[in-house]
Symmetry: C2
Subunit: 105 residues, 2 copies
């Protein structure tokens, strides 16, 4: 999990964060997880997510981990479930901002 606050000041960390985000977005399953998360209100349990995907639960679990390491989702353990929440703001300020360079001028 990337510390967003730290990344915002240190350009080196900022680049690493951008890289993790784009790497996370490189796999269709991970993009779909973010979509599902978004259209279901922003949060879901691991099982709720895994149940919607064709691949095995452990595989989905690892995708979730990568999303978490990129900072695109956060997790909270509640009882024996884990709740994943999307961080839409990060998406905008990393990948979104990078893309915006090509719109300007």
């Amino acid at each position: 999990m990337a510390d967003a606050k730290a990344a915002r000041r240190d350009p080196r960390r900022e680049l690493e964060e951008l890289d993790r985000v784009f790497k996370a977005l490189a796999h269709p399953a991970r993009r779909q997880i973010l979509m599902v998360l978004h259209f279901r209100g922003g949060e879901m349990t691991a099982g709720g997510i895994a149940g919607r995907f064709a691949c095995s639960w452990p595989t989905t679990s690892r995708h979730l981990k990568q999303l978490e390491q990129a900072g695109l989702v956060t997790v909270e353990s509640v009882g024996r479930e884990r709740i994943y929440r999307i961080d839409k703001a990060l998406l905008g300020r990393t990948a979104g901002e990078w893309l915006r360079w090509f719109e300007k001028v």
Copy 2:
């Protein structure tokens, strides 16, 4: 190279195009190539690009090929040089549009 016109109608091709684009954006060197291309007016020769990067020329050449297959750049052979041009519009209508889902609502 992905046929953009075809991709715009067929949802399956559209998804494949999106996937190629995000895969292309997953590598920092390829993102930088697009940046350099953009800030130098949108077009450059292969050598002009390769000269700005630390990695070997063949490696850069392969990155360019991936960008081309994603449709993010186009090539034109002129004499013994090859001119690469960025397609900013594609960037916006694939990755950009995907990201915009998370801004709406």
